[in-house]
Assembly symmetry: C2
Homo-oligomer: 117 residues x 2
DNA sequence: CGGTATCCTAGTGGATACTG
DNA sequence: CAGTATCCACTAGGATACCG
């Protein structure tokens, strides 16, 4: 029984890594479009500040989800990519993406039904 | 291209519903063990306060994930269960649970390797 | 180019006490 | 039993400015 309790909590591990306003979308970009430079990623995330992008990437790096490669040159060049371990998150991300898409459709339908009445 | 951008963001819908310190574990209890009364659920969530349990349940109810049934009697009786729509979250929850379990194992192995050196 | 540093605000979550 | 009502600490996230 207690074992069950402990088991249930494991969900939070995945959640804690994925939570963050920009983390899921960062991961999807890296998964689907491969390695990015810092500013390249920034351009794909309209509205994000440098500070936030740095912070989210650092946290993902600390969890071994994202790999950071620094090229020692001037001007600086830093590349980010999904780690092998990070790729194991894909099923979760895809499941969330699919659910989210249906969720949006559902909301629209509910809106429409409201309008028709 | 822009369509792609919009698509990517759908992940956040799922995330926003699942995020909350107690939500995933509440949902798993309701999914696996069925309908619960308020205090029954509270007993299964060591450490949660009444306020937090109420808040999380209300938020899940607002999103149509959880159903709340009030029995008009004294003393009060309120039952919570997963809605039909809430059940569609199961694949995500299971994917997160599985990942989290492997994640814990992986961490332990890394710890062991550290100790052995 | 790829960051830090500083300051700020809103919201999340907890402790505690009270209630129909 | 199943909640509210307060008050409070902490953090996430944003705006802005500066740096090697």
């Amino acid at each position: 029984m207690e074992e069950r309790q402990v088991e249930l909590c494991r969900v939070e591990d995945a959640l804690s890594i994925l939570v963050g306003k920009w983390k899921p979308i960062i991961l999807l970009h890296l998964l689907h479009e491969g390695t990015h430079r810092f500013n390249e990623l920034k351009r794909k995330l309209p509205g994000i500040t440098q500070k936030m992008l740095t912070k989210q990437l650092r946290e993902l790096e600390a969890e071994d989800i994202v790999e950071r490669t620094v090229f020692p040159q001037v001007p600086p060049k830093v590349e980010y990519s999904i780690s092998e371990y990070g790729q194991t998150l894909e099923p979760i991300l895809e499941a969330m993406h699919e659910w989210g898409t249906n969720h949006t459709l559902r909301k629209r339908q509910i809106e429409q039904n409201k309008d028709e009445q």
